[in-house]
Amino acid sequence: MERKTKIAAEDGKQEIIITREFELPVDMLFMAYTTSEIVEQWMGNKVLKMENKAHGGYAFEVKDPSGNVLFKANGAIHTFEPDKKITRTFQMENTPFDVQLEFLEFEKLTDETSKLTMHVIYRSVELRDQQLKLPFAQGINMAHDRLQELLKNSKTK
């Protein structure tokens, strides 16, 4: 499967650059990032708060079916320029990860396409590397679970 998202994470640096081109006009892309109901759908978080303006803030949360909080994150918005850029902080609560600085740039390519560049800066190289590994570790766990389910289902057939 072709993966369109590009990740640049040089060894020994404490930043990551994520780029992705979308078959969407830039205002649609920006809308997807700044409208609570839409963010909830593609990020998979509940949006507790979203104040889209300079000195505004935002907060996300994920709960499991019993209501236990699995994940909480929040940040402050530093710069907010519609259809152009958002500069903000981001921090996952109750984790060893410190706050990170994010520069999001929205660029019009054509009337129907646009590009997002996310430049994320971490407090240290170690913290950046740990964050990079998180989905890998989660992926292996998820893969184990999926496999176990598959085996369980095939046995009961």
Binding site: R3, I7, I18, E23, L116, P135, A143
Partner: protein, 112 residues
Amino acid sequence: MNLRRDVFQAIADPTRRAILLLLASQSMTAGAIAANFDTARPTVSKHLQILTECELLQQSQNGREIHYLINAKKMKEVSDFIEAFRNLWDDRFNKLESIMKQRMKNTAKKGK
């Protein structure tokens, strides 16, 4: 969802990891590989199929025999954590794109 192509799902299985280790320094036929495991031959074949489908293993024909060998380039991808990180974001962005495309379609319909 094409489970088979997911490299991380492929290496999550201990037998498949063992097969990869076995082939680390040599290519082998399916029969020779199976001889190393207590598992039934069809099960080993299934594992080989999954590993080949996600391109961790390649096949090379040697006369009448098919030899399995490691695809070094893909193995490097696996040890590269960035791949999983990228997949996480790519999945989100794919969703974003399809949500907004649908929204645009719906708006266009309403306008007419």
